[in-house]
Symmetry: C2
């Protein structure tokens, strides 16, 4: 039997194909971060691509096409936020079956457009093609650093780990849509809104990147545990997370009786809220959290530490396998 | 019955969704040319996205995955050539079913990589996701103008139309693959090679853009007639093509007995050789053609004129509907 992608997993496949890529003058930071960092003349660019595939990332039975377009664009724009950048423009590739109603195709586009306008980004171009069976959106965003760009691999021994806002709400919102829970009532309205209509933390990312105490940053898109694992791997460190410190949104607590997983499990395994995860110099961490909350009315919560004596991820002192999304598995 | 994309057609759909897009500081030239032209700080960027979808653009039953990857990357890089630019880097989005053999997925990537190395372009990043049923590659290329960039809409009344090389060979090569014709024998080897392993006219495009006599340029990807129609539309002119002047490759003439269409029909309707189509100031046209041939050992052939008294496309004096590829129809 030939080896399948499902045997190797998403990250194994990426490691395999990218391990032999030669360096190139134009590429300052290549594959492995939220964005590539590219040199174009005198200008440094942040570049990221993000695909959304029907029946993998979204279903027209669970979300309106406007929301699907919004989420796809926001997911891509969030990678610029994760480096502390400013998005400039994006290209949109749309592949659609020929029998797709024009109204659905237009609404997908309008959703992308609404997200670009909300994040001061232009739709510069793209491609429109036929597909045989499913809708595919692929979005490439080009941005620039504002003060500096922050990569994943910058975490240092002794740094503390922090997360913005309340991850896990989008995962609960998706669960509510899948269960057909009435979306009009609290706490579901907030949770479903977090899933369908996320915002990229552009201003927050720029503010954080302007502080030298922020050593590493990424967005939470695959799940808090898995993404913390990526940050630990990239920095060659161990990350110790404390479940008691992880922020759980009030809406998620209210939803607990109807959830299949505990609120904490949703926060640990759920991504796609597009919150930011960062490693901070410990001496400045408390002050930075206070200033961040003053600036944005949003918590920046310390949830763990980076340790040098071991590698990987521990939750409450127990080694834990990163949980979260792996394509192909 | 709701209106379907197949009713509206690819270009009708693009017109509908893009007609209301607001201007944006970052976008110098938006949708409607081979590349978008984008301002990033002090740098001008050329940006283009091109998707290739299984069973629409390619089939694993007709081409090796390395060739599919090569063609997809070359098609995207060709849009940079069509503006006279230099490609810097690309991002690759790959969506694949989980049951895809790793060897197929790796070969697709290696084909993209080989094309980037042949065109001095870096793979800077991308995305890898699952799809339900088909393989989907989307490639976004970022480049920069070298002397200046050339758009489609610059053709002027009295300009002459010229094309590089011998379009139509790739269409004959695809036909040969579909018919199971033995690929090892002349003239099929050349024709199939033109289909499976095209090259983007990067050096040629830069050389042409450096000559002020070149008023408009684009690549031939949808078919010579259709692309000439796009150039006429963009410039608000009529284009008169002379079938007797259109260059037909010797290999295409040799293949005539086994072809379903005439060689000329393949040249007119076939795209994907990635030759360049341009409008030239008439006084300098003959000299430029000679210099081009001296420089590149490749013909630059005058095939028509731009006229101001009417709009659209005529072939040998008869109005003709652009033939070529329209997704959704």
């Amino acid at each position: 039997m030939p080896e399948k992608l499902s045997d190797l997993g998403e990250f194994g496949f990426i490691r395999r194909i990218t391990s032999g890529l030669p360096p190139h003058d134009a590429v300052i930071e290549g594959i492995g971060d939220d964005c590539a960092v590219v040199r174009a003349g005198e200008t440094v660019l942040l570049v990221t691509s993000d695909a959304a595939v029907e029946e993998v990332h979204f279903s027209l039975s669970l979300a309106a096409p406007e929301d699907i377009g919004w989420r796809a664009a926001t997911a891509a724009i969030s990678d610029i936020a994760a480096m502390g950048g400013k998005p400039l423009c994006l290209t949109l590739s749309l592949a659609l079956p020929a029998h797709t109603p024009v109204a659905v195709a237009e609404a997908l586009f309008q959703g992308v457009r609404a997200a670009t306008e909300a994040h001061d980004t232009a739709i510069a171009g793209g491609d429109t093609t036929q597909s045989r069976a499913h809708i595919y959106l692929d979005i490439t965003v080009i941005g620039t650093p504002v003060s500096r760009y922050v990569v994943r691999r910058g975490a240092q021994e002794g740094d503390v780990l922090a997360v913005t806002g309340y991850p896990g709400r989008a995962a609960a919102g998706l669960y509510a849509l899948q269960q057909g829970i009435d979306a009009s009532q609290a706490p579901w309205r907030e949770l479903i809104g977090a899933h369908l209509h996320p915002h990229a933390r552009i201003r927050e990312g720029q503010w954080l990147a302007a502080h030298a105490a922020v050593h590493a940053m990424m967005d939470v898109s695959d799940g808090l545990l898995q993404d913390a694992g990526h940050l630990a791997d990239a920095s060659g460190l161990g990350i110790h997370l404390h479940s008691g410190k992880i922020p759980v949104a009030a809406a998620l607590e209210q939803a607990r009786p109807q959830l299949e997983s505990s609120p904490l499990e949703l926060v640990l395994a759920g991504g796609e809220d597009y919150e930011l995860l960062l490693a901070l110099a410990p001496a400045e961490a408390e002050t930075l959290c206070r200033q961040f909350e003053d600036e944005f009315g949003l918590p920046l919560t310390l949830i763990g530490e980076c340790e040098g004596a071991w590698r990987g991820l521990q939750l409450d002192g127990t080694p834990t396998a990163p949980k979260g999304y792996d394509h192909f598995r």
